[in-house]
Symmetry: C2
Subunit: 279 residues, 2 copies
């Protein structure tokens, strides 16, 4: 029987080209990994009930469901539809007993140049979903995305900004609203250490890892395996731990030209080896 | 005779594939543009004396010389060589009577993951060059680059960070050290307005414009013409003006697949038209 790898979670996007949900879970278990973070399309493909059954029967920790968010829209109907979709995502996260629902908040509505307006829509959207999330027992984790995605994916781009939203919507720090810290998005931020401390244990809900490659050949799908890039992963892990997070590090690698083309078992074996040696 | 376009400068990188320095100046004058910002390789190709003579005879404003910087290096010899090169850049900027020497500070030394260390090398390097710049009467303008360049081009990535360096090295705000604000690098920054006010007239030394395209197909050479992307240029101009900068807006567009393939006169005519209508 394979030894359990404590403290490691696999975001299933890392093997999305190789495997569906059930195969990915089997792969993780073969490598001793008992924590996962699936995407909603992967859950939809197998069906929520079946996915939840697998999670329960295998005793998996679900370190996050990816993803809610994408709140800004050109009109009120679009914004309402986004909020409704986030409510469904909360239900799915509850069924999977996920530690949090990760929010990639969305960028500018089509044709807009109003980033301040988009940011206001994000706050409104999270405020609308938060009561449902509290009722379902699903913490919401705002994931600040790298500023290169500000236009089209997420107009929340620093931990500081995400924590300002938490302060506005959940001042008593109940644990209902927090942040997902992904090294890929935040490694460059000179305020990272201070903001991880500011976040504290109630708001640090996820710690995603991968690496920043030099050169980066594609803005979306050229993330590196831990150790292959320039991020000081142990330094950031210490910041996250100092902030009070003690959950698994979750590997999330989008890699169209490299890791998505490798056999899933090779990817997972490499994740385990790098987790043990460079994280 | 062509009417002068007040308040517009052309960074000659915008037409670097079409023209050398002398041809680019002739092109600018044909379009009524009397302010330019050349790159050092363009100056070297024609010779500093000849370039300075053209600037003088045509009465051009040089809104900046690009570029000094690239301070971090793996060893002390490399860092000394960078400082020496910056001293030569100061001399060139003085000969061209440039409003400032733009500093692209450099990223991580080869093989390094120590971004805090690289940032310390940047501060040391600027501190070493500053007395020479003061003696030559050349203001140094730190240009924060977009965080997607943190690893390989500039580990100073926000206006806030650049101004912290100014505070450390020139606390009395003598006008010897300041910042170049490029909308491409800073448009996403939620602190932009506050930091432009913080900078003030003594430290706002340049205002670069272009646009952020969606999608962006290349991280280095896919900048957009003003109006073709998502940046609210008038909003940022108002922030820069509120901060006290009253110099020209300087168009700097790296565009391998589009504008660098157009005739230089078409590029300049478009810059003038967009400057008048969307900036």
């Amino acid at each position: 029987m394979t030894e359990t790898v404590e403290g490691l979670s696999i975001n299933l996007a890392t093997v999305r080209q190789q495997w569906g949900f059930a195969e990915a879970v089997e792969g993780c278990l073969r490598h001793g990994i008992h924590a996962i973070a699936p995407w909603r399309d992967q859950i939809a493909a197998i069906g929520l009930d079946q996915a939840a059954r697998i999670v329960r029967e295998e005793g998996l920790q679900v370190t996050g469901l990816c993803r809610g968010g994408f709140f800004p829209a050109s009109d009120a109907a679009g914004r309402r539809a986004a909020i409704d979709d986030n409510r469904r995502a909360v239900e799915e996260a509850a069924a999977l007993r996920a530690d949090c629902l990760v929010l990639v908040v969305g960028g500018l509505p089509a044709g807009s140049r109003d980033i301040a307006g988009a940011r206001a829509m994000v706050v409104e959207g999270i405020a609308a979903v938060l009561p449902d999330a509290v009722a379902a027992g699903v913490p919401l984790a705002i994931e600040p995305l790298h500023p290169m995605y500000a236009a089209d994916r997420a107009c929340v781009n620093t931990l500081s900004q995400a924590l300002d939203i938490c302060d506005a919507l959940d001042p008593p720090q109940t644990g209902a609203l927090g942040v997902a810290l992904d090294v890929y998005h935040c490694w460059w931020d000179p305020e990272l250490e201070a903001q991880a401390l500011r976040a504290g244990p109630k708001r640090l809900m996820a710690h995603h890892i991968c690496d920043w490659l030099v050169p980066t050949r594609d803005m979306l799908t050229d993330r590196g395996m831990m150790g292959d890039g320039v991020i000081d992963l142990p330094a950031i892990r210490r910041m996250v731990e100092a902030g009070g997070f003690s959950g698994p590090q979750e590997v999330e690698i989008f890699s169209a030209e490299h890791w998505w083309k490798k056999p899933g078992d090779e990817v997972l074996a490499t994740c385990v080896e790098r987790f043990r040696t460079v994280c």
